[in-house]
């Protein structure tokens, strides 16, 4: 287990911004294909988000997994709540659920961008 300071720090981070992505690398330079995919989705949706690079701090890397009881990175948080990793964010984008989530929380996003992703990736 990581110390309580790390858990407190994580809680403050995810409550400090509407949208927070724990990822490998930065949003300008993702270091993992799964992190890169979520960054791309958020970028096309025009959503402003805070990125936390888990590679820069082993305590955060371990601590975030304990915080969410989720063993993999990336992890997306909206309004302090864990939404999911790469598979879930991708599915929610293709199904339109991500639009509903952002609308529900009053988070600005580009609906046309979301529609474009769906048009280019028809579900089988």
């Amino acid at each position: 287990m990581t110390d309580t300071d790390t858990q407190t720090q994580i809680k403050q981070t995810i409550e400090g911004s509407d949208v927070v992505l724990y990822m490998k690398g930065s949003q300008l330079m993702p270091q993992c294909g799964f992190s890169n995919q979520v960054v791309n989705i958020l970028r096309i949706l025009g959503v402003q988000f805070t990125d936390v690079d888990v590679l820069s701090d082993p305590n955060v890397r371990q601590g975030i997994k304990e915080f969410s009881e989720w063993p993999t990175i990336p992890q997306l948080y909206v309004k302090g709540e864990f939404v999911g990793g790469c598979d879930i964010i991708t599915e929610m984008t293709l199904s339109g659920e991500i639009d509903q989530l952002f609308e529900k929380h009053g988070i600005t996003f580009d609906k046309a961008g979301a529609d474009k992703i769906r048009a280019e990736n028809p579900r089988s």
């Binding site: 490998k24 009881e69 063993p71 999911g84 929610m92």
Partner: protein, 95 residues
């Protein structure tokens, strides 16, 4: 049931998923070769997998809860061996 990848890690993944979740459908794909040279690629050839699993255990659960069940079934393999596991967790008959 389609062909499952060979290898000790794949076999253990399948064993754990079958015993914990009693899937009606289980497909496992080994994507490790696509990640050669990547930080999580440990040279074992069994670091990156994708699974499609259908189980009645997912009834009434949202996506996060379903994936948590899968991660729980996989247990410490996630920390020790498997760097990435893409998951599609569905109900029997769902597609």
């Amino acid at each position: 049931m389609t062909d499952l990848p060979r290898g000790p890690v794949a076999a253990e993944l399948v064993r754990r998923l079958e015993s914990e979740l009693e899937p009606t459908r289980l497909e496992l794909r080994n994507d490790s070769d696509q990640h050669a040279g990547h930080a999580g690629h440990d040279g074992s050839g069994e670091s990156h997998f994708a699974v499609t699993i259908a189980s009645g255990a997912f009834e009434g659960l949202n996506r996060v809860q379903r994936q948590r069940l899968v991660f729980r079934a996989v247990g410490d393999l996630m920390d020790r061996k498997v760097h990435a596991l893409q998951i599609r967790a569905i109900l029997p008959g769902e597609d």
